[in-house]
Structure formats: C-alpha cells, structure tokens
C-alpha cells in the first residue's frame, strides 16, 4: 500500500518506521528537514520537505497515487485541511487524521474523515490505569512457592 504521512514528529516517524517494516511504500512529509532525524538510520522510504496544506506540494509528492494519507502534525487545523484536500481533491481512499480537540474530532468524523483524538484515548488509558492498578510485584509474591 502506498502511504503518505504528513508530520514527522514522534508519532509520524514511529508510524513511518512501522509501516515501512510491514513492507508498505511510505512517503514522509514535513515542514522542516530537521524532523527527518527521527526516522530510522536505515530509512529507505521517501521524504519531502514542504507544507501539506499547499495543494501543489501534495500534487508534487504524489498524493494522487496514494492509497492512504495520514496527518499527524501538531496543528489540528493543518491536519484537517490537508486530509480533506487529500480526500476531496486527490481522491485518496483512506484519509486518517489526528485531532487533539475531541469536539473537533467528532465533527470531522461525521464529515467522513477517519479521525483519532489522542486526548480522549490518553485520558481513557490513564483512567483505566487508575481504576485497575497493576498487581504489585513484591518480593514475597515473586519468591513465593505456594
């Protein structure tokens, strides 16, 4: 599958490495070349410097041929705008978008994007952890011979 990832931060670079490992054809886009330092040392995929809300940039890096577009920059609005361009202008089938603001996330889900709000997901994980404390690993239990 041909995947374009916009934003090479922690999530973007980790995801790029994972997908590349799985054998996908991955292109990474970021506003600064400096961000590519987060990619694995032996990165084989493509990388481009440019702003993903600029349609000329999206055209140049071949978003029209992509099977999936994933926006994970720090800016909710940038993610939303680029993803909608990928979907409605370039006809990309899978358009995934990270949106921190949960209300905005819900809205764009209704508008047809595949959205994730790490705010809700993170809060849920923390709440789960608080509600279900891990069993303490004590010297007794570790060494007990019942």
């Amino acid at each position: 599958m041909k995947v374009v990832i916009m934003g090479c931060g922690r999530v973007g670079s980790t995801l790029a490495a994972m997908l590349s490992e799985d054998g996908h054809d991955v292109t990474v886009l970021d506003k600064t070349a400096d961000a590519f330092r987060r990619l694995p040392a032996d990165w084989q995929g493509k990388r481009h410097v440019g702003n993903g809300i600029d349609q000329d940039v999206l055209a140049r890096i071949g978003v029209g041929d992509a099977d999936a577009f994933i926006a994970v920059t720090q800016g909710d609005n940038r993610n939303v705008m680029a993803t909608q361009a990928a979907k409605h202008i370039f006809g990309v089938k899978r358009t995934l978008c990270r949106i921190y603001d949960p209300i905005r996330e819900e809205m764009y889900k209704e508008l047809g994007l595949e959205t994730i709000s790490p705010t809700i997901a993170g809060a849920n994980l923390l709440k789960d952890l608080l509600d279900n404390p891990p069993a303490p690993v004590s010297a007794e239990s570790a060494g007990s011979d019942a």
Binding site: Q55, M81, Q84, R104
Partner: protein
C-alpha cells in the same frame, strides 16, 4: 444582522468597524489579548477572547443565532475550520472566509464555504487592469461560478466589422457592454459590430475565459 468576525487583526478590525457603522450587531473573536484590548478600546465591548475554531468558544459567542460568520485570520486552515464549524455544528446560514493563498479557493468551495475573499487575487487583478499588454482582465466574480471580464479588441482582430450574431462565442457567454475608444458606451445587440480598441465587458465561466479571449482577439 448578527455577524461574527473571527480574527482581530487589521482586516478584522476594519471589517468590524464597517459593520458597526452599518448598524449590524458585531462580535470579534481574537486569541491575542493585546489585539483584544485595542479593539475594545476603539470599538467598545464587542470582542471575545478565544479560539474561533473551538466549539466551546463558538457556543459562548452565539454561533447558533449568527446570520453570518466571517473568518479573516492570517491562516487559511484556521479560517476553514471556523467556517466548517459554523456550518456543520451551528447551521450558520452564511460563511465567508479570507484566503491568504488564492490556490485554496477550490478546496474551500468543495467543502461548502459560501464565499471566499482573496486579497492576493484582488490585488493581482487590480494590477492586471493596469497592464496594457493584458487582453483580458477579470473584473468581478458573480454568483454560480460566473465571472465578469473585460476584453480589449486589438486593432488586427479578425472579429472587427463582423456582426455579433455571427461570432462563435463559448457556450453561455454574454457580451453585456462595449466601450469605444472615445468612451461611448453601448449595449451590444446581434447586429452590432466591434471596432478596433473597443473594450468589451462579458459574462462568462472561468473555464471559457481563454476561448472567449481567443474568439475576440485572434488576428
């Protein structure tokens, strides 16, 4: 009318002032506290400090009863999201967005923003009118994707002397006015003829612009 302006920079400030003079109820939403203070000082208590892309701010601002939301920040992605929020969550009847990058017009239109305004495109169009080499100048965008354009008839154009009803113009194009070299204006009819250096004002579609230019200017 209740009009909400998003962005309290130069454009937002002057727009708010203009709307107030026309007796509209106006609210400006601006994130920066210094800009908020300036607007409050000069225009009164019409400013809300907050993010116009956030649903909670929108609720507080009364998007639900707004007749119009106009987003004029310096970032197209923010203007887009504010207008989409206004449309989809609050059913605001009319949304207007400022475009900083004229290229974004298509995506804004596809996503249902009612009107876009691009300062860059407006300035370019105005300068183009002053360039003598330009045979066709965009004058005004009309509704339903139509456009008003001006075409200057070059002295060697093959249309000169022909009756308008015999011209092959692109489908849906209408010649509405001719201005002769001496400034005489005429509403053209089927048997009117064009003279060298006439200026023709026409209604057409952007995709037919080039065909119209060729039809009227080719030697």
């Amino acid at each position: 009318m209740y009009v909400i302006v998003i962005g309290g920079g130069k454009v937002g400030y002057f727009l708010a002032r203009e709307l107030m003079q026309e007796m509209h109820e106006v609210l400006v939403i601006e994130l920066d506290s210094v800009k908020c203070e300036r607007i409050a000082e000069e225009l009164g208590d019409i400013v809300l400090r907050g993010d116009g892309c956030e649903a909670t701010t929108a609720e507080l601002a009364g998007f639900g009863r707004a007749d119009m939301v106009i987003a004029v920040t310096g970032d197209d992605e923010d203007n887009l999201v504010s207008c989409q929020l206004a449309k989809t969550k609050f059913s605001v009847p009319r949304t207007v967005a400022r475009l900083n990058n004229p290229k974004n017009e298509k995506i804004f239109r596809l996503l249902g923003i009612d009107t876009t305004v691009s300062a860059t495109a407006a300035i370019l169009a105005q300068i183009e009118q002053e360039l003598p080499t330009h045979q066709m100048i965009p004058l005004l965008k009309l509704k339903a994707g139509l456009e008003l354009v001006g075409v200057k008839i070059p002295p060697d154009a093959k249309v000169i002397g022909k009756e308008l009803k015999d011209l092959l113009l692109p489908h849906g194009t209408l010649l509405v006015l001719t201005v002769a070299k001496d400034g005489a204006t005429r509403v053209p009819t089927g048997d009117s003829t064009l003279q060298p250096e006439d200026e023709v004002v026409a209604v057409t579609r952007p995709e037919n612009e080039e065909a119209l230019r060729l039809a009227l200017t080719e030697p």
